[in-house]
Subunit: 304 residues, 2 copies
């Protein structure tokens, strides 16, 4: 079934203990689309300026990523982010951010995208996430991400969004903040009460956990990656493979718990490849068979 993503497209400069990657392609919609495209066609919505040095059609060559929703604004500049990771690389320190075109009006949803069934609203102001979601005719499964500044400063918009989505995919610190609970199990349960039927909490190197309103729970460690060169895009790659897998199932209108578990395993595997190299290289250098291989390895590593 059709899968749509709205999110950022950016020019990133990332420094880690393994080196520096200057002016490379980044952004949530890019990582998401790259990971999702192993499983399902993707419809991308995003906006860039005339200065963007990347030909996205070329970036997604041989992948089924529809760029009808890509808007290029000739008088605007592309979003730029500079960040650094230190020691255990668990957290990005933002050195510089230029919102540029992301501070302007958001892109609109093309008419041919409005029937999308699976929708991922990457992290941005919840008022925009709400506006984008309202343009969808009959989505089957909507997931969203958010972050600390929206939890603190735009709580009403976020609470309104949470009532309309099926799944929140969120970092552990942000889950604690949103739920005002230091215990993650409690935090997950409190967020379920805010609206979404499923909450997936990402814990970085420590894996992820999922809870849903029926009382089912799932916990999965991260893939034990010996190579971590650049954690940028891990969360969006996770969400991309997860949503791509859900959208790929035959007649998959129902997101049963078993499928959600499998989707989280694929998300975890995609994230493990994304962080192994700088920028998108970890995802562009692999095949679907590599993903299936690590799926089986993760199964072997965790089952008893």
């Amino acid at each position: 079934m059709s899968l749509l993503v709205t999110g950022s497209i950016g020019i990133d400069t990332v420094k880690t203990p393994y080196g520096i990657s200057e002016n490379c392609l980044g952004g949530s919609a890019i990582y998401f689309s790259m990971a999702a495209s192993f499983f399902s066609p993707v419809r991308l919505i995003g906006v860039i300026g005339a200065d963007c040095p990347f030909d996205l059609a070329k970036v997604f060559t041989d992948r089924d990523v529809d760029l009808t929703g890509l808007e290029i604004r000739n008088n605007s500049k592309t979003f730029r982010w500079k960040g650094s990771y230190y020691s255990t690389m668990n957290e990005a320190i933002t050195d510089e951010v230029k919102l540029n075109v992301l501070a302007e009006a958001p892109p609109t949803v093309p008419a041919e995208y409005k029937d999308s069934k699976f929708v991922f609203l990457a992290n941005t102001a919840p008022v925009l996430q709400n506006q984008l979601l309202e343009q969808m005719e009959s989505p089957v499964f909507v997931a969203a991400d958010t972050m600390n500044c929206w939890i603190h400063g735009h709580r009403d918009d976020l609470e309104s969004l949470l009532k309309k989505i099926d799944c929140l995919i969120i970092n552990e610190d942000e889950a604690r903040m949103l739920a005002a609970s230091s215990n993650l199990i409690r935090a997950g349960e409190k967020i379920l009460e805010m609206g979404p039927g499923v909450v997936i909490i990402k814990k970085g190197e420590s894996g992820s956990m999922m809870c849903e309103t029926g009382g089912e729970r799932f916990i999965l460690p991260s893939y034990p990656a010996a190579e971590v060169k650049d954690p940028t895009g891990a969360g969006d790659s996770f969400a991309g493979a997860l949503m791509g897998y859900l959208a790929s199932r035959r007649g998959g209108s129902k997101t049963d718990f078993g499928s959600l578990k499998t989707a989280i395993v694929y998300g975890t595997v995609a994230a493990s490849f994304a962080i192994a190299e700088f920028s998108l290289q970890g995802l562009t250098s692999i095949s679907k068979a590599d993903i299936e291989g690590r799926f089986k390895t993760l199964q072997k590593l965790t089952q008893f």
Copy 2:
């Protein structure tokens, strides 16, 4: 098969966001024995002063814990520890420590303990761990714990110990320190090269991982505990149930990887009970059936 533990017996005062527990029974040998006794008879070696207000025979009533190796020194004082846990309770802050009897000569191994087959050397100076181990006649499986001050200040003794033991059970920060590697997978592999056939790395709320020289790996999340009142003793309870299970198997002279995996699951479950209440209450208030119940729950939560 026979299981022996040598470790501390202490009088603890612990402060957490849930309250304070003053002058309660603690120490690695106590938590270990309590958790191990659900699975196997335990032989305890430890030393206390005349001031110790606890009757250990009463503490272990109805549990098969042999106290022949308990030494009471009339002119000495019992080990005392005061610590606090804050917010996420991932780390204990030591407020006060009085080594007292632990700074004196270590206890000796009673003649009737020397044939012990499974041995756990709880955290102490590696020179003492070496001396205790030398008194064993033909141990089958020896596991040890250690900590930062021995890694930094007593490296030679520790390296000598690592060549003689089968399994090191260690915290993640200490694993990184010992191996001089920020990546935990690499750290585990480097520690294997130092001697032990099995390395188990405890990651607190994030679970644990195990690696062994044959190349097998296992990763397990922690039990998702909604109640965490006092994390003291979590690691020793983990080791206790783990070693207790291994020692309990019929004719279990071989510690195959499947058994080690099951042992880690039991260790994880025992730790989840230990941290639910102050001091030993989390372990003394449950039955073997409670442990089996959480074993099955953890299976359901993690299998896909």
